[in-house]
Amino acid sequence: MKPVSLISVASYLPEKIVGNDFFINESGVETHSMFRSTRFRHHIGPDETCCDMAEIALSRLAEKININLQKDVDILITNATLPDIPFVGVGAAIVGALNLNPQFIYDIQSGGCVSFIFMMELARALINSSDAKSALICNFQTAAGRIFALPDNRKLPQSAVPGDGCGVGYIVADDSSPIMSIVTRVHGESAKDMFPIAPDGRKWWEPGFPALNLDFNKSKISLIVARGNKLVPEVLHMAMAKAHIEYKDIGALVTNQPNKIFLRNWRESMLLPEEKQVQTFDEHGNLFGAAIPICFERGVDTGVIKSGDKVLLGGFSHAGDFTAAAVVHWQKNKI
């Protein structure tokens, strides 16, 4: 297999910052066990789109590594929690807005909070099976502003936790900042434990009031916690073994950030001190799939992730139906 490298990450967070009062005033509840409250989160605006976020994040990325987006993107892969337009996906609109010329465009719906790693894997597979040499992978989290901010939903304590944002990564066919391993797994038995739900019981595509929310099977909360505690350390260890690295070799840990407990538990399971974990939970809340690229960039910007570090990425999505992990031997700005 040809080596591929993750050579840069960039992000954009919507301008609107929402404090806890926005939710507490409605719900009267200050904490919730599954989703302990964060302090702030960004919300996508009513007229803001994934495509708008992509334009900013991608121009930041292009500037960082001095690439020409029109020429230097052979593959475009996206994952959006709630896309701008159903059916159509996000990729084509981004191509239109930025005049990209990719050979391949994929808008993937799978992978959820670890879709960044799924997209790394897909990019690597495409690069290895075609003459494509570069890939943009883009995560859009839009559900906070679009679903959880709705007046009906603001009353629910779990609505305080999600935050919106966009994180992108650039992958090339060389070994300048190599992806040492990727492991992705599917646990289909958990696929029905997170779902959109309306209090009146209607299907999510049926019109009506009150608003739809995203919820978990309450009777399975303990089970979901146990899955996260078991499956994520397991897949992180698998990615380490595949990359032939040990605990002492981990330069930094970046995972999705569903809540503080999982962040603590996953870090502890990798025997890492807090300073080697990059997370922005207090500031950004649960960024779903965008967490990994956004935190990766944060780690690089703050110096937690240094050139030469082996960065361990991982996490799980939804109620545990996907898990993924990867090791990147990070080298900064080689272009």
């Binding site: 919730h32 303990s222 994520v232 350390p233 603590r264 538990n265 996953w266």
Partner: protein, 213 residues
């Protein structure tokens, strides 16, 4: 609850009257980790448990006979009765030449067998191995037994209270191995399981252990 209960006066109780379900879930999440340091699990107490495919009555009888420690433990051998009727003395080879005293306190009704032991002297038996045999039919819905075995981290494990009783040339102390108790006792529990299952499979009746010596 009795009318004149003092429960409301006891601080920091977690009961549904003062901590709601969300609050309880919050506490439980906080306490549930993905991994635990060894010391957190096996520091103050060391409990191991095992399923043994052998009827509980047979296991109880086997454990209640102190002399059988010579079979299933790793290093206790040469059991002899002392002048005190219920106390045995034997050599614990992990201490080289070390006398270990032991009294078995068994309760047939409760199916508990506690070994009250000590190295070097038989006057204060402070190393207490608490064992309970539970019918697996009750707890696992299958024949056989579950054996629970707990040790408590007695302060004497950390400091030998009777150093003058120790053999002159012995370096170690039983408590030096506390951090290995989980491993050591698990291995011994496996010995117990193998012995009892072997004999039970061979012959469901008349197990005494002594006949194989």
């Amino acid at each position: 609850m009795a009318k004149n209960t003092d429960i409301p006066n006891i601080p920091d109780l977690v009961r549904i009257e003062n901590v709601n379900l969300d609050g309880m879930q919050e506490k439980c999440m906080e306490m549930t980790h993905a991994v635990y340091p060894h010391d957190k699990i096996y520091g103050p107490y060391c409990t191991i448990e095992e399923y043994i495919n052998c009827p509980p009555e047979i296991i109880f009888e086997y454990l209640a006979d102190c002399e059988h420690l010579g079979e299933w433990t790793y290093s206790t051998r040469d059991m002899k009765k002392t002048e005190k009727d219920d106390i045995w003395v034997f050599n614990d080879a992990i201490g080289g030449i070390t006398e270990c005293y032991c009294k078995t306190v068994a309760n047939k009704e409760a199916m508990t067998v506690d070994y009250h032991c000590a190295w070097d002297q038989g006057d204060h038996l402070w190393m207490i191995y608490l064992i309970r045999v539970v019918p697996a039919q009750l707890v696992l819905n299958k024949p056989g037994s579950v054996v629970l075995w707990t040790n408590c981290h007695h302060p004497f494990y950390d400091n030998n209270p009777f150093p003058e009783k120790a053999p002159k040339d012995r370096d170690g102390w039983v408590g030096d191995a506390w951090d290995m108790f989980y491993a050591g006792h698990t291995i011994e529990m496996q010995n117990l399981k193998k012995i009892l299952e072997f004999r039970h499979n061979r012959d469901n009746a008349g197990l005494t252990g002594k006949e194989t010596r």
